[in-house]
């Protein structure tokens, strides 16, 4: 039997397909049509039901034959996604009517997708381009299946739009409201977040250097700094709106407060990170405070500083969005979320959340890339 290579995902997928065939009707209209063959009732999957079940079973069977891993992954990928696409496109017009076989088939397709990712994760290609491509493809398939299951379940089970809209509706809303979303991103991210992030992180950094240089600041400021960092942002935001007005300046102030202390604390810790021997070495060169700072202590502190920059990249976005709940001009991501939720436009809320998540990831990713380039020498980057 060495031509056979069973996997539990493929076996379970076949079992689920067989149960789905045994249970019969995939939707309520189909059940009604079966119960009353004389009535002409239209129902979903009129012509595609056999195709979907067949596809899933055949793909599962082929994947268990001893074939090259890459071929197996391609078969699974095509099978799983074709079934998912047929399933989701077929339910259009019959939302909320799905019966158990619909979900069994969805689960079977998902298992095939899982097996596909597992096979791809096991690949060890020699070429670096292939390795890089795999690093992108695997999380992409993973993410796609979150969306596929979300879409299929919300539409198949007819989950109320207000509770959870399907991703396709959110995508359509994003595509349809690009000017509004663009204006919100400009107001919240390009004004409040970027300005607050740069000023807050910069001020934290400079204060850390000052505290390092001036002993009384170190003794007096840092303990108070730790206390202020525990300030609840929700409490501070309305006060900032009172002080700096409704426009982006008050949101930038909140971001400054949020990003200042992570940077201060991390930089102070980083400046203490250089070794005794290295500092003695600089002393033997009769190196002054500033050359030692620039040539030894700041490079040694770089991993700590980048840690703060990464923490701050997400904190800044949260701070700006939450601060907009307390009063804004009629533009901004936080403003949009708080007003659209009141108008029951949940798809718009999700659209803003998606845009915020994308912007936050890009922001974090850029900081992480710069970190890799700057602290290439650190064991955590160069790998041991």
């Amino acid at each position: 039997m060495n031509w056979l290579k069973p996997s539990w995902q493929a076996l379970l997928a076949i079992v689920l397909c067989v149960i789905a065939i045994a249970l019969g009707a995939m939707s309520k209209p189909e059940a009604a049509a079966l119960a009353d063959p004389t009535a002409s009732i239209s129902y979903p999957y009129l012509g595609t039901k056999g195709l979907m079940l067949g596809l899933a079973i055949v793909a599962a069977l082929i994947s268990m034959i001893r074939i090259p891993s890459l071929v197996e992954a391609i078969v699974l990928f095509v099978g799983a996604h074709l079934v998912a696409w047929l399933l989701i496109s077929g339910i259009a017009g019959f939302e909320g009517t799905a019966l158990a076989p619909y979900f069994l088939l969805l689960t079977a397709a998902w298992l095939l997708g899982w097996r596909c990712v597992a096979v791809l994760s096991g690949l060890r290609p020699m070429a670096s381009t292939a390795r890089n491509a795999l690093r992108l493809i695997i999380p992409a398939i993973f993410g796609a299946w979150i969306l596929i299951i979300w879409e299929a379940v919300t539409r198949g089970a007819g989950i109320p739009f207000i509770l959870l809209p399907p991703p396709s509706a959110i995508g359509a809303r994003i595509a349809g409201s690009l000017p509004v979303l663009g204006a919100d991103v400009r107001q919240t991210i390009f004004k409040a977040v970027i300005f607050g992030y740069v000023v807050g992180s910069g001020a934290g950094f400079i204060t850390a250097i000052l505290a390092d240089r001036v002993p009384f600041l170190r003794r007096g400021l840092l303990p108070i700094g730790n206390m202020v960092s525990a300030l609840p942002i929700i409490g501070v935001a309305p006060i900032m709106v009172m002080w700096f007005g409704f426009d982006w300046q008050s949101k930038a102030a909140v971001v400054i407060i949020m990003t200042f202390f992570p940077m201060l604390v991390n930089t102070v810790a980083g400046l203490a990170a250089s070794g005794h021997m290295e500092r003695d070495l600089m002393r033997t060169y009769a190196s002054g405070y500033w050359p030692t700072l620039i040539k030894l202590r700041l490079p040694a502190a770089a991993p700590f500083i980048f840690n703060a920059l990464k923490i701050n990249s997400t904190l800044a976005l949260i701070g700006a969005i939450v601060a907009e709940f307390f009063g804004t001009p009629v533009v901004g991501m936080g403003f949009r979320i708080s007003t659209e939720v009141g108008r029951m436009n949940i798809d718009m809320v999700w659209a803003e959340i998606a845009v915020a998540a994308l912007a936050g990831s890009v922001f974090y990713g850029v900081v992480a890339l710069v970190e890799r380039a700057v602290t290439f020498w650190h064991p955590s980057v160069r790998g041991g």
């Binding site: 021997m277 290295e278 600089m282 002393r283 033997t284 060169y285 009769a286 040539k295 650190h378």
Partner: protein
């Protein structure tokens, strides 16, 4: 000035007491020592005898609490500010974000030398320690022995007449250590520098030195100073000659005498 060249290092009645949580610890007591130009002096003794502390006092990394120390006729602090010595630590202490050549350039940058002068000195000192061809490598890409050689190159780069070395080969294996000892002797012969060398290995001390300072602990003090009668030209197999073994035996006796009250 009397016309005789002044001592490179002169210590008299030198003492250093550390204040610790368990009360004062006398790291150095009543040390009298004069080191002349071109000497190779080793400091040997059990741990806690103050040999590293003495080297750090010469380098002005520690302040003595009694007695006086002069380096090149100045106070230790003035000598440090004038960059009178190169210091080699127990570990290479290279900066991982700098290539080997930028590490060697570090003291030169701080001294404000021109780019051309820096490049010339980097080339010369890396040649001296046989590291040519590794200029663009990062320290973590080199072996431990090569890293330590790079740190010696860095100490040589700014051409001080005095080299202070604190167990520089302590963490290396025997074969690499022999090799570096040989290279260090050649380097000393070529450059005519004064070298102070801390070690806890008797063969290493005898092989390298013109003078061996034996130290003993509690309180840290000099218990014996042994002049070497070995010729300046020393192949590695000199270590099997009766003359070498006789000096080694004297050093061992000196170390044992310092310990006698422990028995």
């Amino acid at each position: 000035m009397t016309g005789i060249s002044p001592a490179v290092v002169a210590a008299s009645k030198l003492g250093l007491t550390f204040q610790t949580n368990d009360g004062p610890v006398q790291a150095l007591s009543n040390v009298d020592l004069t080191i002349g130009k071109g000497e190779f002096v080793s400091f040997i003794g059990p741990s806690g005898c103050g040999k590293t502390t003495l080297l750090r006092v010469i380098a002005d990394l520690e302040k003595p609490t009694s007695g006086t120390i002069s380096v090149n006729g100045m106070t230790a602090e003035q000598a440090r500010e004038k960059r009178a010595y190169g210091y080699v630590f127990q570990a290479a202490a290279l900066f991982p974000w700098r290539t080997i050549e930028r590490n060697v350039a570090l003291p030169l940058e701080i001294m404000g030398l021109s780019r051309a002068e820096q490049a010339e000195r980097i080339k010369r000192t890396l040649d001296l320690v046989n590291l040519s061809g590794f200029e663009k490598k990062y320290p973590w890409q080199l072996s431990g022995g090569m890293q330590q050689r790079a740190s010696i190159a860095r100490a040589l780069a700014f051409d001080a007449d005095l080299l202070l070395m604190d167990e520089p080969f302590g963490a290396l294996d025997e074969i690499v250590r022999d090799h570096l000892n040989e290279q260090l002797l050649q380097l000393w012969a070529r450059t005519n520098k004064t070298i102070c060398f801390v070690t806890h290995s008797i063969p290493e001390a005898v092989y390298l030195s013109t003078r061996i300072v034996v130290m003993s602990p509690r309180p840290g003090r000099v218990s014996d100073i042994i002049e070497s009668t070995l010729p300046k030209e020393r192949p590695l197999d000199i270590r099997e000659t009766p003359e070498f073994l006789a000096i080694a035996a004297r050093v061992r006796d000196g170390l044992r005498a310092g310990h006698s009250y422990d028995d």
